[in-house]
Symmetry: C2
């Protein structure tokens, strides 16, 4: 399975890095999943975030054609890209909702709309992108996450957990989704310190089923049912 | 004001990038705060995360001496560093809880403990780091965030919002804290699309007081009181 995150200059930091972190937890928690690959794709060797961090890309947007899931990140850069016909042609040729899960984060919805992927659909986005998204004929709804088949939109940075969760469930199943999301929860939410065993802490980095951590009953953020999960990342 | 995030090889991605994102929202939301500076400090020109992302540092750990607040990130790398006397001497010489706010994320607590900054204190950490933290004589408590004066610990990646929130409030006030945290909330939580005005979307990137967004009443994650806030980042 390959998950691609599309980045560009002036991306919102968290809207790339939250997905990057969640997705790269899969091979860490499940080292047997040697087919799991996460890549950042752009148009240059590096792209610089709105916060000023320059990070390397793993390839170009054309390579999204090989992905099972594609996340379009967000930020001021989207406003420039929806006017860039060459960019849209390159990215559009690589995307197919028939064979890929495609999701946007915040103003990434503008790019999906510019590609025609939200035609006739409802969607969510960041508040500042609402009117531009509506100008594409998209009906904007007040929700953190909106999905129609293989195309989804997330609004608000932390709604990225729902977008990541959807892709994780679709590509790897609900157990993997819960393990990944719970491993990043705050202590006291779906992550507990107390049940952790010494026998597992010595091999914390490896092996499924090791380091299981009983989930707490609190489930206040709507991220789905808690269950047995692993607490090996974020160590 | 200068906020420093200490990184190293094998850092947990989100435990650097969440703080980086939150802290760099301040000058974006408040461009008049020209004194606000956020820097990543390490021991090399670049450091590589557990997820495999290589990012540039802005300086070396010695430069933390000039910081008003210091966040120690987390990850497998902490286990190596708490055995590295030279590293601890360098970092320890730069830190002072008398004049700085100092916080750790997840297993970053191990570094604080190795520096003696948690002596006689309770603290939280990531489940996998519990026993090592206890080996320093620290009492580990089941909580997302534990603070004693100018020294705080956060356990679980998303508890980083509490750590960032504490530093934002201490250095910039409660209004800035709320504006930053709310700007990253999911739509429907403390972020609403509907009240957003066209007149502000045209200048979304600049100017305090523009793009105010009424906060929703839901406040389910304990991140503090919601209020009037801005919705300009994450665009």
């Amino acid at each position: 399975m390959q998950v691609v995150i599309v980045a560009f200059d002036d991306f919102t930091d968290l809207d790339v890095f939250l997905h990057w972190d969640m997705m790269t937890r899969v091979p860490y928690l499940y080292p047997e999943r040697t087919d799991w690959r996460v890549r950042l794709l752009g148009t240059e060797d590096t792209h610089t975030s709105m916060g000023g961090l320059t990070i390397p890309m793993h390839g170009t947007i054309e390579e999204a054609v090989d992905a099972d899931a594609v996340i379009i990140s967000s930020g001021k850069g989207t406003r420039r890209l929806i006017e860039d016909k060459a960019y849209l042609a390159r990215l559009g040729a690589a995307l197919s909702p028939q064979r890929q899960r495609i999701g946007s984060q915040c103003s990434g919805a503008l790019i999906l709309a510019a590609l025609g992927l939200l035609d006739g659909k409802t969607a969510t986005t960041y508040p500042t992108a609402k009117e531009t998204l509506e100008s594409f004929g998209v009906t904007v709804v007040e929700a953190p996450f909106v999905r129609h088949g293989n195309v989804a939109t997330a609004g608000g940075c932390l709604a990225g957990l729902e977008l990541s969760g959807w892709i994780l469930e679709e590509l790897a199943g609900a157990a993997v989704r819960d393990a990944v999301l719970n491993s990043a929860a705050p202590v006291g939410a779906r992550l507990e310190i107390a049940p952790y065993r010494a026998s597992s802490s010595t091999v914390e980095a490896r092996g499924p089923g090791i380091g299981k951590n009983r989930a707490a009953s609190r489930d206040g953020d709507g991220l789905g049912a808690a269950g047995q999960h692993r607490a090996k990342v974020g160590a």
